[in-house]
């Protein structure tokens, strides 16, 4: 039986997780893997650039309509034969989004999706931060074994990355979930390279990829496409392809050593001091 790789991608809201995930899924799929991307965000827009205009209802929307959803109700085939699922969630201000993620993942498990679709790699694109037990579900034992943090050099994005490391450490101590590295989605922030490298060092991981800021991303997204689909010959598409290859080859998996608030504050200021 082949080994299923399950990868969770966390990071601050708006940092570019969905963009990174969908381009990563597309690149992995182009490399011959059978990829499933699961958007774990009530907004249910993680996979929109993979599926274009053929979007289906989210798992939780289906649950509202009928008790026993089947595989076809929740899975959409996207660009390059990627499989896409959106967990979905309640309207802002209502219900419990974290519980929604737990329920959606239970349904995915119950439908035996990974086996039914003969998936090689699952990518979980998880909302903003591990704000409650629900958003930690992809870190639990039967789900992702490797986690990547998306950040830029901006303080709040780094803060979120450090915070998420705390959750990975906690789960890593009782299971085999590990941090595979940081993906820096560059915003051209002040001393971005230095500070991101410093964080990686402090939490005992690596920066696995530097994704440059490029308007081609927005151009393609306006057409509901990933860069891998919309501008396959661009330098940016090459970056995502490289990221895919590096993740496949990555064996540098660690239980992170997150900083406390004081240590984090010091770390942010350190490059300035060195300057």
């Amino acid at each position: 039986m082949k080994e299923l790789r399950q990868i969770a991608v966390y990071g601050k809201g708006g940092i570019g997780k969905s963009t990174t995930c969908s381009n990563l899924s597309a690149a992995l799929s182009n490399q011959g893997y059978r990829v499933l991307q699961i958007g774990c965000d009530p907004k249910a827009d993680s996979t929109k650039n993979l599926v274009g205009d053929q979007k289906k209802l989210s798992v939780l929307e289906q649950l509202k309509l009928k008790k026993n959803a089947v595989l076809d109700d929740i899975v959409t085939k996207g660009f390059a034969n990627t499989y896409c699922i959106e967990a979905g969630g309640p309207e802002p201000g209502f219900g419990c989004a974290g519980r929604g993620i737990i329920t959606a993942m239970e349904i995915v498990e119950k439908l035996n999706v990974f086996q039914e679709l003969d998936i090689d790699i699952v990518i979980y694109d998880v909302l903003g931060d591990v704000v409650c037990g629900g958003f930690a579900v992809p870190l639990r034992m039967s789900f992702a074994k490797e986690v990547y943090l998306v950040t830029s050099g901006e303080t709040m994005a780094l803060y979120a990355a450090n915070n998420i490391s705390k959750a990975i450490k906690r789960f890593g101590e009782r299971s085999s979930v590990r941090l595979g590295g940081i993906i820096c989605n560059q915003r051209n922030a002040y001393l971005e390279h230095e500070v991101v490298e410093k964080l990686a060092d402090k939490i005992s991981t690596q920066v696995i990829s530097w994704i440059p800021r490029d308007n081609i991303v927005q151009e393609c997204e306006m057409k509901n496409k990933t860069v891998v689909e919309g501008a396959p010959d661009s330098a940016q598409a090459k970056v995502y392809d490289d990221l895919a290859s590096k993740i496949i080859a990555n064996t540098n998996m660690v239980i992170p050593t997150p900083l406390d608030d004081e240590g984090f504050d010091l770390m942010i200021k350190q490059p300035l001091m060195m300057d």
Partner: protein, 444 residues
């Protein structure tokens, strides 16, 4: 009778099975949620201590609900809970669970620990399995865990089946299966929620019934059970159950993992159903027995014929019972007495929940009845008023001046020959007694 409100039970079951009708959510009013089902099953074991991770209310209720005891007995076993409070809900209760597990293990060194969760824990997403995995192997191997939040759609039946499966997977030693005995033996799984003296009577009666086909009982799944007795179950040739669903998950696992088959007949209510039940067991064990030649069976058959005559062929009966398996038993019982059953108060979600039983008995077995769709008691009274002297199967005193067969399953013999005999006697009494014209007080 308003024909527009009637449908054949088989058509209804078939439509529900094919998901052709929209069904609202409704919990089986008599049976609660998966938490209760799992709790019931684990409570049978003296060498398992239950720890509920969650708020304390669900645990405390165990002591007071009538289903958990009877007139001379209340549930006084140790029930443990992590007793989650506001802070645990906000900040997570995982550490509290780990502390509680360590404390429980120390206090009960000879027992396994079953961890159940209630709604609060499941909603906040405490990683209970992860907490257990973080414990040392020595302790971890003593723990079984089930996620049993009540809101998640898992029913009482799910709770019992999954608990039985978990028991079989985690605690049962299948190496002893097939060691066999010289005689044909079965393990007997009683119905749930049965207490003495009904329980002792039922066990004695069923053992006597099984003796008709030359079968002995190896082990009985009863309160006070333990993992040693569980192990001894492996010596039986067959598993037999009285309830159509309670224990089913365990029987499946004993078959799949241990190779011990089980009789797929259950609910021997009435003479016909009892004979079928015995025949099925005999067939499974390769026994050639002439059940009808047994003296008790032939005597009861004559008794049944007399009652049948007294009722009158084709007399209408109205059956009102919300629990699906009992409803089916009562339809079969009415039919063997020559009555034409009309069932009321049927909750489609209860049929869907127990679909495997309805599929087997109604769609495959041909058991059928007329369903009268009704929402309020007044509609049922109206129906009863339109029928020519029907017999009403109902445990509440809603029908003054009518022949009401009131027979509580919980505290009476219902299964096997003695169960049939008791039910025939009670029904005879109903027919011979002038109905009470008052409806506020129970007749004696």
């Amino acid at each position: 009778m308003d024909k527009s409100k009637t449908v054949k039970l088989s058509s209804l079951v078939s439509a529900i099975d094919k998901e052709l009708i929209e069904i609202g959510e409704c919990i089986d009013m008599h049976q609660f949620c998966a938490f209760w089902g799992a709790y019931d099953v684990f409570s049978y074991f003296d060498d398992i201590v239950l720890l509920v991770h969650g708020t304390s209310g669900c645990t405390a209720n165990r002591h007071f609900l009538s289903a958990m005891g009877h007139k001379d007995f209340c549930d006084s076993k140790t029930h443990l809970t992590t007793n989650m409070k506001e802070n645990d809900i906000i900040f997570g209760g995982e550490q509290k669970l780990i502390d509680a597990l360590n404390e429980t293990a120390e206090k009960y060194p000879d027992k396994n620990i079953a961890v159940l969760t209630n709604c609060c824990t499941d909603i906040i997403g405490d990683d209970v399995q992860g907490c257990i995995e973080s414990l040392p192997e020595e302790l971890r191997s003593r723990i079984v865990f089930m996620n049993t939040g009540g809101y998640s759609g898992k029913s009482y039946r799910d709770g019992t089946e999954n608990a039985f499966r978990l028991l079989a997977e985690k605690l049962y030693d299948f190496s002893c299966c097939g060691s066999g005995t010289p005689n044909k033996t079965v393990n007997l799984f009683l119905r749930r929620w049965i207490w003495d003296p009904s329980k002792t009577n039922e066990i004695k009666n069923i053992i006597n019934d099984l003796a008709i086909i030359g079968v002995e009982v190896n082990e009985i799944f009863d309160h006070g059970f333990n993992t040693e007795k569980l192990k001894k179950m492996g010596k039986a040739d067959l598993n037999v159950a009285l309830c159509p669903f309670f224990s089913r998950g365990f029987l499946d696992q004993l078959y799949n993992l241990g190779g011990i088959g089980y009789s797929d007949a259950a609910a021997p209510v009435g003479l016909d159903a009892t004979v079928s039940w015995l025949k099925n067991i005999a067939e499974k064990l390769g026994i050639d027995a002439d059940i009808m030649a047994d003296e008790r069976v032939s005597a009861l058959s004559l008794e049944r014929d007399r009652l049948r005559e007294k009722i009158g062929e084709g007399r209408k009966c109205v059956i009102w019972n919300q629990t699906g398996d009992r409803l089916l038993s009562l339809i079969g019982f009415a039919k063997e007495l020559g009555m034409k059953p009309i069932v009321v108060g049927v909750e489609p979600s209860a049929i869907r929940e127990k679909m495997h039983i309805f599929r087997k008995e109604v769609l495959e077995g041909g058991l059928d009845a007329t369903v009268y769709a009704s929402k309020y008691i007044d509609e049922i009274r109206e129906l009863v008023g339109e029928l020519d002297d029907p017999i009403i199967f109902c445990n509440d005193n809603y029908f003054s001046g009518k022949k009401v067969f009131r027979y509580r399953f919980a505290h009476n013999n219902i299964y096997g020959l003695e169960g049939a005999k008791s039910m025939y006697a009670e029904l005879t009494k109903v027919l011979d007694t002038e109905p009470n014209k008052y409806s506020l007080f129970l007749e004696e």
